[in-house]
Symmetry: C2
Subunit: 214 residues, 2 copies
DNA sequence: TGCAATAGTGTGAAGTTGACACTAACATAA
DNA sequence: TTATGTTAGTGTCAACTTCACACTATTGCA
């Protein structure tokens, strides 16, 4: 066999979550700064499985929604070697966030997409593409439910949409539209948080499943 | 350095064209049958460039619309080796089709997507996914223009849509919608073909560019 | 008990979509 | 030259969807 040119095939994952009314990304430490969680695909390992594994190993996140985004292969994207990255994005429900009250150096950290530090390689572009894709999918799928905890209020769901789109939505129209989709149902329970009228708690009818609309 | 596990990173391309009112795919010869055009990515070669190169080398097609589709990496998709394929699809305008009046053995051949022979590996699934993506994009982009020759009639454009979607469309509504998109313009010329009223010839306002709608 | 804060609810106007049928212009053959 | 076959080209109305818009309800707390 001829000598094989060095080629690094990796997966990189953009883990999204809504935290404090912001869309944030969970970043891993890099020698000199930040990068997306990810790494080389092992022989015999499925691409999706590799993405899940790195997410687990580097951030502790598991059982999240994961979708292939795009494959980046510019020859000069990594100055050190020929690196091809199969990029994914993950949606982390608000309930399952690892609490990092005091984010240590060396630990992954959540950062708002609108205030990203410089990232390794082309990871900044990957995040930007993932954000665009996510925003587009809000319009024609029930994907936003993957960012919600098991039980949530309609106001919370609306806030998630608004945060991702970066624009306010009309409350009545939003509720009408969502309920017409027949993708969520009332639990009968109420959320009493704060000094005001309690809100009904809803849950996804088909958790884990993303339906297309229309 | 540790011995590197053998990994084949390839591109495969689904070249679509409309021929004789059918959506067809251009296939290449494979030892025992048919496969999609494609092959291993060279060191230092961009992914898109590799897809274009194989399309040129194996089918003679150049200057076509090309878009990344999905990356396939099931460990068992190729029984012979670990093979990861970055799949693309290409849209070939009706005018630029290589004429293969007598398709030789050993030459690529156009085949209707609804009558595909057995293909190598998972290439059948790749074609199916590409077809779904193309059909979906008709609804929210001007991508169908990439399948048209430089000048074309509205009836021809409608036939292309109908062929890809597999369902008839209303003539008046179709024309209204397309013209409202402001993506094509009259050339002033007429197509006189056959014993009937000639049709106006249109051309794309921004050839090569695919606009999103709405 | 009143104030602050969020939950929850309906209508009408504007715009979009979808169904539908006839006349126009040409080539060809009788 | 006329009749016939074939495709091109055109508008309206009803149904539906989208969008803008403001008030009452329920709670905790001061």
């Amino acid at each position: 066999m001829p000598p094989r040119a060095p080629l690094a095939l990796t997966t990189d994952v953009v883990p999204f979550a809504i935290r404090a009314e912001r869309l944030e990304v969970l970043l891993a430490r890099h020698s000199t700064g930040w990068r997306l969680p990810g790494g080389p695909i092992e022989p015999g390992e499925d691409l999706d499985a590799a993405a899940r594994r790195y997410l687990m190993e580097q951030t502790g996140l598991r059982d999240v929604y994961l979708e292939q985004l795009y494959t980046f292969g510019q020859p000069d994207r990594d100055p050190g070697q020929r690196a091809v990255a199969v990029a994914y994005y993950a949606l982390v429900p608000a309930g399952s966030l690892p609490v990092d009250a005091a984010p240590a150096v060396d630990r992954p950290g959540w950062v708002g997409v609108d205030a990203l530090p410089a990232l390794a390689l082309d990871h900044g572009e990957i995040v930007a593409l993932a954000h665009r894709r996510l925003a587009a999918k809000l319009a024609y799928s029930t994907i936003a439910l993957q960012l919600m905890p098991e039980r949530f209020t309609l106001s919370e769901l609306q806030a998630v949409h608004e945060t991702i789109l970066g624009e306010p939505l009309d409350k009545r129209n939003f509720r009408k539209r969502i309920l017409a989709l027949d993708c969520i149902e009332m639990t009968g329970e109420m959320a009493r948080r704060g000094g005001h009228r309690p809100a009904r708690l809803y849950r996804a009818k088909r958790p884990g499943q993303v339906d297309f609309i229309k």
